[in-house]
């Protein structure tokens, strides 16, 4: 009986912790997916003139299936940027990320770089060298990374 009581006490404590630190996971997921859409639109805007001139091509026809604890399964899209014979992909990795509301991995033939958002819609490139270096994702830094990855 004593064990049952202490177990119940343990469960109550965990429940209280959950209530005091409650995260609205469905809302978090919506915000995460929305932040990806906004980011992709921003990238399109930065690259529009080059796409119109036929220097590159942006394709978003591939789905990414993610499954995260608390959040569950969901689908989102990756962005593929074709430049000449090269491909750079931006692939969502999830919203349950340490120190960030989400992460995208940007991959090319010459490597990979992380893109994180420590605050909503404030995207940063992140690289371990081995210390973590972060810097803003802006039009110019994004174009520089595109060149570095192919």
């Amino acid at each position: 009986m004593e064990n049952i009581d202490s177990f119940e006490e343990f469960l109550r404590k965990k429940k209280d912790e959950e209530n005091s630190n409650r995260t609205d996971w469905p809302a978090r997921l919506d915000k995460w997916l929305e932040s990806i859409d906004v980011f992709y639109m921003q990238i399109r805007e930065w690259l529009t003139e080059f796409e119109q001139e036929g220097f590159l091509r942006i394709v978003m026809d591939k789905e990414v299936n993610l499954n995260e604890e608390f959040v569950g399964s969901y689908k989102t899209k990756r962005m593929d940027i074709y430049i000449g014979n090269d491909l750079i992909s931006i692939i969502p990795k999830g919203t349950l990320i340490i120190g960030s509301y989400g992460r995208l991995d940007m991959r090319g033939t010459k490597g990979e770089i992380l893109i994180i958002q420590p605050e909503w819609n404030d995207w940063k490139f992140a690289k371990r060298t081995p210390r973590l270096e972060t810097w803003d994702v802006k039009a110019e830094s994004f174009k520089k990374i595109l060149q570095d990855l192919v």
């Binding site: 630190n21 995260t23 995260e68 604890e69 608390f70 990795k93 999830g94 349950l96 990320i97 340490i98 120190g99 960030s100 992460r103 992380l114 994180i116 420590p118 992140a126 371990r128 081995p130 210390r131 973590l132 972060t134």
Partner: protein, 184 residues
Amino acid sequence: MARVALSGQDLSIEFVWSWYEDQKEALFDFRSKVFSAISLSSILPNEKFIGMTTDELNAYFEESENELEHLVCFDLISATESLLRSDFYARVYNKDKSGLGRTFREIEKGFGNKISLEEHIINSWKEIVVARKSDFSDFLALLRYRHWLAHGRYWIPKLGREHYSPSVTYNIVERVFNIVDDGQ
């Protein structure tokens, strides 16, 4: 022949085990703290974890635990080597009259400071404690693992078993300690 100056800094296997348990608990607490930074924005994560997914964190801490286990096994085996070598020199310097003491003195006369743990010390013990020689055979097999750890793990070791956990290692070295403690 110059005497070996014994340091007295040998570790007991009980101390190594207790230290292992402390480190394991500390590692689990740390893991729990890092994981809670995912859902609690009030917790500031250590910079090196920023950007990691839960799968990457799990892999990181699994690797940390594996490394801790390797180092603990290494410490346990080293403590046992220290016990066997200290016992060897004690018998030689104290002119131990037992059969083992006489054997050790002859070896020391012949090989000086080039005493092999496996060939000289362990093989001598195996001849004396025939009924428990399999305990020394297990320890000899364990020394292959120690050798692999000590030399940088660059080859695929043939260990005779897939994995030496700290508890398996402790069990093997404890039997050697018991034999030496029983004396001959």
